[in-house]
Symmetry: C2
């Protein structure tokens, strides 16, 4: 549970490849509005129906906003309201300067379309945590690739045990470029959020992050620190945190107690 190598998915999702010439444009069926129901709802549902009809391939381009205004007889604000809903739900991709494009064929046998809400349930993490180790080392090939650095560039290797209400709940291993935060060891990692130290001490602002969540099993090391049994179910979470310019500021792998945290999903 401790290597920074690939995780070895056994069945990768098939990436849709664009054939030569690419998928055709989306052509809408006629539309009649119904009274009493908000226009942008009707437009959204009509677009969902059209896009899910199977007549179009992923990647197909939607009509521009102006064309949709004409087709639906609505103002641009209303059209944009409907399109924003579709984009939020992952049905379409929108790109300024290019257009709007159909995304996935259909995600899963979910209730109707897509996830609406996602949150973790459990006690909030305390700031900081117990630093198990903080060392400077040279990046090996894996870490260098993940962080987008040259091999042998200096990185910090930070292991912390973190608590919620004083109870150990997650064990985190972080990799950070030394160039980003020289002398990191001088700061109080026991009591401050890493993200706050980066921002306040180094002026480094994290813009966004990606997490990959998998089920895993506590090994001896995990079990000892988290106070659980070897073999107990845990979440394994990989997080890549990005700077504003797209570089990765931190790569982290965490093991989180499965008996304390769970994820909750709302589907609509």
């Amino acid at each position: 549970m401790n290597d920074a190598t690939g995780t070895g998915r056994q069945m990768e999702t098939a990436r849709a490849t664009e054939g030569p010439g690419g998928p055709g444009p989306v052509i809408l069926s006629p539309f009649v509005r119904v009274a009493r129901i908000p226009m942008h709802h009707q437009i959204r549902e009509d677009l969902v129906l059209n896009l899910n009809s199977g007549r179009f391939q992923p990647g197909a381009e939607l009509p521009g906003e102006a064309a949709l205004c004409a087709h639906y007889g609505a103002s641009r604000g209303t059209i944009r309201h409907a399109l924003a809903d579709l984009a939020r739900d992952g049905l379409i991709d929108r790109q300024a300067g290019r257009g709007s494009f159909l995304r996935h064929p259909k995600i899963e046998g979910s209730v109707v379309g897509s996830y609406r809400q996602f949150r973790i349930e459990g006690p909030p993490l305390d700031a900081g945590g117990s630093v198990l180790s903080l060392t400077r080392r040279k990046a090996d090939a894996n870490v260098a690739e993940i962080l987008g650095l040259g091999v042998d560039r200096a990185i910090y290797f930070l292991r912390r045990l973190r608590f919620a209400a004083g109870v150990p709940v997650t064990l985190q291993t972080s990799y950070l470029p030394v160039a980003l935060c020289p002398d990191l060891q001088k700061h109080n990692l026991d009591e401050r959020h890493l993200i706050d130290i980066l921002l306040q001490e180094y002026g480094v602002a994290m813009a966004r992050a990606e997490e990959l969540i998998e089920p895993a099993i506590a090994d001896e090391h995990d079990a000892k620190h988290l106070g659980i049994k070897i073999g107990a179910p845990v979440f394994q979470i990989e997080r890549r945190t990005y700077l504003a310019d797209g570089r990765i500021g931190e790569f982290r792998r965490a093991v989180m107690r499965g008996d304390v945290y769970r994820y909750r999903l709302d589907l609509r």
Copy 2:
């Protein structure tokens, strides 16, 4: 891994209770706009900062849209854009005729505020699946409570092994009120989505669903059907699917292969 009883979280999140008189109003700190960054982003982040400052209790009422327009010197459309983002991310509740109110205390030490996007990564499920058993029985106390039925009301107990591209990937146990779908056994559960059968054969439309996701370990039964080893990490997923009137139409517990699926989260 197979009882329908409670899951026994060890540390429940504390529910904030409203004191007598209720929580006070939200009072905003002064705001200075920065050039080059969209106004509604800045307003959203400023509101996040204010709401997460700890100065306000859950339930606290935000200033009205007009007041926010004045405070931020922006038009109503821009203010509404920012507020819509906050509502979408679950930070506030908005109610027409009443106002906007602060929701949760604070979720987690995430990058700045909240989850933006999440999806499951892995191959799409095939429709239907191999029915391992479909029996009619009387609801025991646990299932009756979950489904909101009286004890001893008839339920269907359905176990299916489901596939993705022909490979077994998830084992599902469903509980449905017989009243909702009498003679369910007459329909082709091997090849159709349960949700489609309910809609097309019984006119029962599922409105929304909730899922709880935990890490778990494959037991002998899981391992045998899914073709994995006993003790292999899996996701355990509880799903409650709701009808439009709020009743629960299906309670399901599923075990999903951890080597095939993972969740991806985008944080902003």
